[in-house]
């Protein structure tokens, strides 16, 4: 959208509730669009099964074999090279071809031949009997609420795969909008006091979302810091509240007078509304991040009572509160550092043990809390990572990046409960059963939110079939 204020732009802005027009449609939000070409009115294209997305992304690469995809054969054949096992063909050059190497170096993205045994035990959970590793017992207790996809694959053998999981494109290709930006572009806001696309947590490889859709579809970065949650949210120099309020009232009066002088100026009207929204956000965002009205029980569900779980738990509780208030898409990135903390090239056991203990309980708390509030039916929760880790060992006690097969799970609005879908081979190397490229997750979300990605396409930016992906029908209720 590089061509200024064209009609589509205007519609979009009005659609996001910054102008008078939007007010009239507030009550009809999410009604089915009557005109099939009215995609940018902010309404879904067809009946949605969910309204919002909470997108949890573990940066660095979670070992699929030590989380949601147990491989006992790794124990049986531990120490053997892959060649010495019945699955030597997994390294057939033809099968390895799909991955595009960004930087050749010894430390990252290499074949690791010597099979490394599982570093953790597994248990079956719930009626569905889905297996979770002992590092994720609380998520395990939610097994009957979610669908595990054990057959993801991607093509970047390095952490550019983080960008790829969000945009669908390899880092060496063009940068394109992320899934959150598409949702933001396609759907109108449910609450005019809040941003509808929020990012919480560290980003490194690509801090943009909108790309050719324009910066207004970028996530609004929020720090879950009640003191400073939003840029310029509070006066940066000391003013009394009354002083601030008098100034605000004056500006409002002057803008209204302005509007009478310059009738038929739509921008002026939109800007006046947006000024009002700014002041509502000044209150709404701090209010959302204020947990005083949450019970102690709820806070415990998110682990706010423990140092280990509090940081991530706080973000998840904030996410629930934003979703509750109508924010469409919240992406939460877990794991500091350039590559992402989960990047366990060595010391995998202590690495994953530490990190899983930060997220496991709060994520389960989020699912349970959403459910008890009746929000799980309309909220999609995604738990993802950029790739898995190699079945073979690296540096004696770690695993390298593994793009050929890995696991994610989804839960909530429109997702079947208690399902395991897809599979890797017996040593967790290739996704062999129902393999899914990362955009299949995007397509699933789009379908559940009632959007037809093809109708959002922007002229001049042809998307490939693989950019759209295919909804994973087997996990859709």
């Amino acid at each position: 959208m590089e061509t200024g204020m064209d009609r589509r732009c205007c519609l979009r802005q009005f659609g996001s509730g910054l102008a008078g027009i939007a007010l009239a449609s507030l009550l009809q939000r999410d009604a089915l669009a009557e005109n099939p070409h009215a995609a940018l009115s902010g309404s879904p294209h067809f009946a949605p099964q969910a309204k919002s997305v909470i997108w949890l992304f573990m940066r660095g690469g979670v070992s699929h074999m030590e989380s949601f995809d147990p491989k006992p054969m790794l124990n049986k054949y531990q120490g053997k090279t892959i060649d010495e096992t019945p699955w030597s063909d997994v390294q057939d050059p033809e099968k390895l071809k799909k991955v595009r190497v960004v930087v050749v170096n010894d430390a990252n993205g290499q074949q690791r031949n010597k099979l490394y045994p599982l570093q953790v035990g597994f248990r079956k959970y719930g009626d569905s009997g889905i297996e979770f590793s002992d590092w994720f017992p609380h998520m395990g207790s939610c097994a009957d609420k979610l669908s595990v996809i054990r057959s993801m694959w991607t093509t970047d053998d390095n952490h550019g795969a983080q960008v790829q999981f969000h945009s669908g494109r390899h880092m060496l290709d063009e940068r394109v909008p992320t899934i959150g930006a598409w949702i933001n572009y396609g759907l109108g806001s449910l609450n005019d006091n809040l941003p509808q696309f929020i990012n919480i947590g560290p980003r490194f490889f690509d801090v943009r979302d909108g790309h050719y859709l324009g910066p207004k579809y970028d996530a609004v970065p929020l720090k879950i810091d009640p003191a400073n949650p939003l840029a310029f949210a509070q006066p940066e120099l000391v003013r009394t509240a009354g002083e601030h309020q008098i100034g605000f009232d004056l500006v409002q009066r002057l803008n209204e007078s302005n509007q009478q002088q310059f009738a038929r100026d739509a921008d002026l009207e939109a800007r006046t509304k947006s000024y009002e929204l700014a002041f509502r956000m000044q209150t709404a965002i701090p209010e959302t991040l204020q947990f005083a009205d949450e019970t102690e029980h709820t806070k415990r569900m998110y682990g706010l009572d423990h140092d280990v779980t509090r940081p991530f738990g706080t973000q998840l509780l904030a996410a629930r509160r934003f979703v509750e208030r109508g924010t469409r898409f919240i992406q939460i990135m877990h794991g500091d550092g350039a590559a992402g903390a989960w990047d366990a090239h060595s010391g995998l056991r202590s690495n994953h043990q530490t990190l899983s203990s930060q997220v496991d309980l709060p994520v389960a708390g989020l699912l349970n809390d959403l459910q008890q509030r009746g929000l799980l039916d309309e909220t999609i929760v995604v738990f993802a990572t950029e790739f898995g880790r190699t079945p073979g060992s690296q540096n004696a006690d770690g695993r390298d990046h593994h793009p050929y097969g890995f696991s994610v799970w989804m839960a909530g609005g429109g997702i079947k409960p208690g399902v395991v879908h897809g599979a890797t081979d017996e040593i967790g190397f290739h996704a062999v059963e129902h393999p899914h490229y990362v955009t299949d997750v995007h397509a699933t979300i789009m379908q559940l939110l009632g959007l037809d990605a093809k109708r959002l396409e922007v002229p001049g930016h042809k998307r490939l079939e693989i950019d759209y992906g295919q909804p994973i029908q087997q996990i859709i209720a």
């Binding site: 061509t3 960004v102 038929r264």
Partner: protein, 890 residues
């Protein structure tokens, strides 16, 4: 025969399915509504005016009946046997269209129903126009300036009024003079006029309006801030970006690219001509290979540098050079022939061949020998023989190596010469180490070291104490000075030898011998210095610092060895490094980055640049005029500005566009002439007030009956606030301001860091340029903008300074008294309003302001009076900055 049967069987098989799924068409199927749009969208690209695959066109019914080389594709009497029907319903490789999904069941149904009804088309159906006759591909012609009902001294008005009259629209009268000045000042220098400038202008305007306005235009065009203002526009279009990457690894763009920005600012201020700017940006290294000032211009190409993938890099170069300079979407033919424009897959790779040989390097500048810290970043042909191949379907892994693609320009713009000629470069270009500036830089570095050493030694002259420690320390200082002096000799002789080598001078052997011997002396001096340092350290009280005997022995050995070899002529001298090539990929070793550069350049980019700026070129001048127009009027003559292809119909104001384009070229591409002509037009000076009647007839203002209301760009908002506060630093040039120093920097915004990784929070809130593509700024209306103006430290801290200036410049108080004197609130409100918004305050507005003053007086009653009044004046100014009208250009 066999094949036809297969198709038939498939049709039989699929047809019932269509009946089940598709809409059943009744009699009302309409060719123009239901059929032709499908064919246009899916078939015309190969069977229309651009291409006639199988000699078939589908853009008229007559053409379909005429058919392909295998005869008519339509048979209304036997739909199933019609080739058109068979091919669109085929499920094997015969299916049409071959790319993308098959036609939908509904679309097939419509076509079938239409055929069953006799396949009738409209009478006089016209085929798609011949693409060579597309308006933008024909040379612009300056039509005579029309005579219009309203007298028009300015040709722009003559052309615009001609259309206004025939549309029956009445144009707005001129805007208030103070608003005219505000517009002009923002437009030409990117700053609102301050109080003094407003007063001076209004006084002159009262005397002679037109003279005052003309003078103001000239004055503003001559100010150095003009170059800064328009540089920012061209930086948008040309995608200026500072370097970014991962940590210290440069991945995108390059260090020191700010020199290109300085060049843009200077070139605009010197008004060197758009054609000259294009020549320099694309090919200064070939045309002026040793002119360091012009070489900066090639930052235009340097900006596309990408560490990891050469194809991505060149794709960006091709796409954005085409869009910015020609208004062509070449990027669409990377994988296949363009679907809408007569641009072929081959055209794309011919254009790639123009850029294939070029690379990026950093040449040393006189002020710095460390190329990481400073240098001249520029392009050069590093690989003149690198072949270009067509990438089949755009896949770089699938290049057609059977055929080398020659450099070339899009065939559709035919008949203009493009003839690259190889250029022999002067030695200083291919061997940059021989430039005198290199010696200057290294000498200066040595001289600094000598001066520091001499100064250190002086300290010892004042002490007579001759204890062991002091003596040892003194020896270190002496040897440091000696080493520094030896190094000066070393770089001097090395430079002489470098020059002699490259120029093959007769005294080469002697020069080399000198350089080797000077190197030996320097090595010995270094070894003696190292030994002296160890000996000094061995006297230390601190055991940790004392060297081992082995270390001392070793150092002594080094000295002895260097002394022995003092006259040895083995080995070579150390050549000075005058340049480093940027890494071609993350794994390139340093060794190959200092290799000698080619002595020739292919001349391809020179040929391309000269081809672009030929007066007959149909696109270059039009595209330039359109960019400039768009930024003065807030809307372009041709929309979108980056696509003048077939999808863009002839613009309503084509006669005006073409006249301006022809005239611009005739006047040596003089951009200040164009600015002056545009801003002097009645159209530009019109009031922006919306008249109901005119707005009903032309809500988009295509006839320019009024001036558009424009929102300030991000940089104008920030720079203007600084300017009103009397704080802005308007100095030109220099490196990009470090992000961590930006918060309190007073530099104009164009000097701030801008890259994908670094964005200024305040500026990006107001839609700063997208460094990846920004042919036009997007204008968003976001609540964060209100928050930025209302709550930022920047706005809050500038408000009191502006208030103070208003008191002083407005003559409300004497200079020294501004801080303390009581000021009449009525007067202050009126002057503040006029200064910030350039319009007279209305009664209700004044009332509102005075009411707020009263409220603040109550709220802040605990403050002492001068302090309280100061605070309220600042609050008032702050509020007016937040009124919509401040960021609005009326």
């Amino acid at each position: 025969m066999c094949q036809i049967r297969t198709v038939w069987l498939l049709v039989c098989y699929t047809w019932p399915l269509l009946l089940v799924n598709g809409t059943v068409w009744s009699d009302d199927v309409d060719y123009l509504r239901d059929v032709k749009p499908v064919l246009r969208e899916r078939c015309f690209a190969c069977h229309g005016s651009l291409k006639q695959e199988a000699e078939l066109r589908l853009d008229t019914v007559d053409a379909m009946r005429l058919g392909s080389y295998s005869g008519s594709v339509l048979d209304a009497n036997n739909v199933d046997a019609s080739l058109l029907w068979q091919r669109i319903t085929a499920t094997d490789e015969e299916r049409m269209p071959p790319e993308g999904a098959a036609l939908s069941a509904e679309e097939m149904q419509a076509i079938r129903a239409w055929m069953l009804q006799g396949a009738v088309g409209p009478i006089d159906e016209q085929p798609e126009a011949d693409p060579t006759q597309h308006w933008a591909f024909l040379r612009p012609v300056a039509l005579p300036i029309p005579n219009t009902k309203w007298s028009a001294a300015n040709p722009i008005d003559a052309f615009l009024n001609d259309k206004l009259v025939s549309a029956g629209l009445a144009p707005n009268p001129a805007a208030d003079p103070s608003l005219q000045l505000r517009r002009l000042s923002i437009d030409l220098i990117g700053l609102v006029p301050n109080q003094t400038e407003q007063q001076d202008f209004l006084a002159a305007y009262a005397e002679s309006p037109n003279q005052a306005y003309a003078d103001a235009v000239q004055r503003l065009l001559q100010r150095p801030e003009h170059g800064q203002r328009w540089a920012r526009h061209w930086m948008d279009i040309w995608r200026y970006s500072d370097w970014y990457g991962l940590g210290e690894q440069v991945r995108f763009s390059q260090k020191h690219i700010w020199r290109w920005r300085s060049w843009i600012v200077e070139s605009l201020n010197q008004n060197i001509g758009y054609d000259q700017m294009i020549l320099q940006m694309l090919a200064a290294d070939e045309i002026w290979p040793t002119d360091e000032s012009k070489l900066r211009a090639t930052g235009f190409l340097v900006r596309n540098y990408y560490l990891f993938n050469r194809t991505t890099w060149l794709d960006n170069t091709i796409e954005h050079t085409s869009k910015a300079l020609m208004g062509l979407t070449m990027n669409c033919c990377k994988c296949h022939d363009h679907k809408y424009d007569p641009l072929s897959h081959e055209d794309y790779y011919r254009m790639r061949a123009i850029f294939e040989p070029h690379q990026v390097r950093i040449d040393l500048v006189e002020s710095q020998t460390n190329l990481d810290l400073d240098g001249l970043v520029r392009t050069f042909d590093a690989h003149p023989d690198e072949p270009t191949y067509v990438h089949l379907r755009g896949n770089e892994k699938d290049a057609d190596a059977s055929r080398v693609v020659p450099p070339g320009v899009p065939e559709i713009i035919a008949g203009l010469p493009f003839s690259p000629e190889e250029i022999r470069l002067p030695p200083a270009a291919f061997a940059p180490q021989i430039r005198p500036g290199v010696l200057v830089a290294y000498e200066a570095e040595s001289q600094r070291r000598i001066a520091a050493a001499a100064k250190a030694l002086e300290a010892f002259a004042e002490t007579d104490e001759a204890d062991a420690i002091t003596s040892a320390e003194r020896v270190v200082a002496e040897r440091e000075l000696a080493a520094a002096q030896r190094h000066l000799e070393k770089v001097r002789s090395a430079h002489a030898a470098d020059v002699a080598t490259v120029l093959e001078e007769p005294d080469l052997a002697a020069c080399r011998r000198n350089a080797i011997l000077a190197k030996r002396q320097a090595t010995l001096a270094d070894a003696r210095l190292a030994l002296a340092k160890l000996e000094f350290a061995s006297l230390s009280d601190d055991q940790e610092k004392r060297p081992s005997t082995e270390q001392l022995d070793n150092a002594q050995k080094q000295v002895d060895q260097a002394a022995e070899q003092l006259d040895s002529l083995d080995g070579d001298y150390d050549s000075l490094s005058g340049s480093v090539k940027s890494a071609e990929g993350p794994d390139e070793s340093n060794a190959s980055r200092f290799a000698p550069y080619p002595q020739i350049s292919t001349g391809r980019r020179t040929a391309f640049a000269r081809w672009l700026i030929q007066p007959e070129h149909p696109l270059t001048a039009r595209v330039a005029v359109n960019h400039i127009w768009c930024r003065h009027f807030g809307q372009p003559l041709v929309d979108p500005v980056e696509d003048f292809g077939l999808r863009t119909k002839p613009p309503m104001q084509q006669a005006l566009l073409d006249w301006l384009a022809v005239e611009l070229v005739r006047r040596n591409w003089d951009m200040k002439w164009l600015h002056q002509l545009i801003v002097s037009s009645d159209a530009y000076r019109r009031s922006s007030v919306v008249q109901d009647q005119a707005a009903d007839m032309d809500s988009q203002n295509q006839f320019y009956w009024r001036r558009n209301v424009i929102r300030m760009e991000a940089e104008v908002v920030r720079d203007s606030i600084l300017y009103l506060a009397g704080e802005v630093d308007t100095s030109c040039g220099g490196p990009t301001t470090d992000p961590v120093k930006q918060k309190h920097s007073l530099r104009r915004s164009l000097y701030f860091t801008q890259s994908e990784n670094d964005k200024h929070e305040f500026l990006s809130t107001f839609d700063a340029a997208d460094v990846l593509r920004c042919y036009r700024r997007s204008v968003s209306i976001l609540p964060q903008q209100a928050l930025a103006l209302s709550n930022s430290e920047f706005a809050l801290s500038m408000a009191p300074k502006i208030a103070n200036r208003i008191c002083v410049d407005g003559g409300l108080v004497g200079d020294a008294q501004a801080e303390s004197q009581t000021i009449d609130w009525n007067a202050f409100v009126d002057v503040a309003w006029q200064t910030l918004l350039s319009r007279t305050i209305q009664q209700d507005e004044r009332q509102a302001c005075l009411q707020a003053v009263a409220d603040w007086q109550t709220e802040l009653s605990e403050l002492a009076e001068p302090e309280r009044d100061r605070r309220i004046r600042a609050n008032l100014v702050h509020a007016i900055l937040n009124v919509n009208d401040f960021i609005t250009i009326r």
